[in-house]
Symmetry: C2
Subunit: 223 residues, 2 copies
DNA sequence: GTAAGTATGTTGTAAATCCAACAAAGGACG
DNA sequence: CGTCCTTTGTTGGATTTACAACATACTTAC
């Protein structure tokens, strides 16, 4: 379908690839494209997945069901992101989580390992795709590590400061705007919103930071 | 050196590779091997790294220096593990952390991207190495996600139960032995040791688990 | 078997967090 | 300008945690 072609081009996984190469993937016998309506199951816990998922449009939730039957949402994957890549390449034979469409979605399931192993001649194709995949996986790795560094801290103050220091570094200066509102920030650092607000006020009162809403400034030598 | 050959063979990054292929990497102009004594700096924050590190022997610490000059240890990488791979493949131009030898160590720095890009003909070689790398990175990804799921929980009880449910799943049953002592467990779930001990006792008193030291059993219907 | 050393469990208190309820500030729109 | 609605800040009380100190259980070496 013509449209899928355009959707593929937006996906970082296929970045830097030409039409022929996209076509090759799109028409591979190991590629399947399917529409899911909201709340339909895309992959079920226990499934033996060999395919990486691409959200061409819409979004999916990664969901875990625990021993006692409690269901918790682990991640939200929106177009044009990918999912399940870790299970395919880490030799995790059965999915430990389920994937459910969070909206009407168009999903591409790509048997990437098969496609790659059966096209050893197209070496440039191969290296482009692999480079994209490696970049995506290592970037996610960096983000996860960063989050762990933040939420590992035992107090809200430490979590906040760690988060703010990351933002300062990321945006290259002492003054910066964070990409969350208070509730979003509290969710990210895994703490209560009102407690986060209170701690920000304290930090301000102590002259450690200046802030207004999502604008922050780190004060170098708070004395 | 003959010995390096043997050390390489133990490393998952080079798993499944034959002597010729190991030799190819070992003698590449983009590969450097160096000895570091304890506390020597291997890579410095701000460096422009193009090389992935392999701990042939010994161990290194990944260290972060924050804005205020506080230094914190992010990770310990022991032989035969690798480090800095995420920076090389995620287009992070400068290292946000430093790497310091934690013991007398022998370190191999491999310009893997260069080696791979300049050997497009050796396609089998290429795919072996890439597969190993992808497996390592995605496995780490899984572990990081798991840890985040655990330490995201707000109470020690929830952290513990999430951890124990993972262990049960991993070991395929309700009875299992965890790979940590109390202090190690407390460190992993980011909580105080004595508080963890206390919570385990409570869970036992409430009939939710049975346990003795590192042996645990989940009780299905605690009423 | 016993002493010494380590790991685990228990308890009380101070500190931090969560939670809920409300106050204040900001934004959208007539 | 004023109302409605959302976001952010503030506060007090209940809950949870950290911390320290000590008790008990286990391990090891002799």
């Amino acid at each position: 379908m013509k449209k899928d072609f355009e959707l593929m081009k937006k996906c970082p996984l296929f970045g830097n690839m030409n039409n022929e190469e996209l076509e090759f993937i799109l028409t591979s016998p190991f590629t399947k494209i399917q529409n899911f309506s909201k709340n339909q199951t895309v992959l079920t816990e226990g499934d033996n997945v060999q395919s990486l998922g691409v959200v061409l449009s819409g979004s999916v939730q990664v969901v875990r069901n625990d021993y006692y039957g409690n269901r918790s949402i682990i991640a939200l994957v929106e177009s044009p992101q990918i999912f399940a890549e870790v299970f395919v390449f880490s030799d995790t034979p059965t999915m430990p989580v389920s994937v459910i469409s969070a909206a009407d979605s168009r999903i591409m399931l790509v048997g990437l390992k098969k496609i790659l192993s059966e096209s050893p001649d197209q070496s440039l194709f191969y290296s482009k795709l692999i480079n994209n995949l490696l970049r995506l996986v290592t970037e996610k790795n960096l983000r996860l590590n960063e989050k762990i560094e933040i939420i590992s801290k035992r107090t809200i103050r430490e979590k906040l400061m760690t988060f703010l220091l990351f933002q300062a570094r990321l945006q290259g200066g002492n003054s910066f705007t964070i990409p969350y509102d208070r509730q979003g920030l509290a969710d990210y650092i895994e703490a209560d919103r009102s407690a986060v607000s209170a701690e920000i006020s304290k930090l301000r009162a102590e002259g450690i930071i200046e802030s207004n809403r999502s604008q922050f400034r780190l004060i170098k030598n708070p004395e």
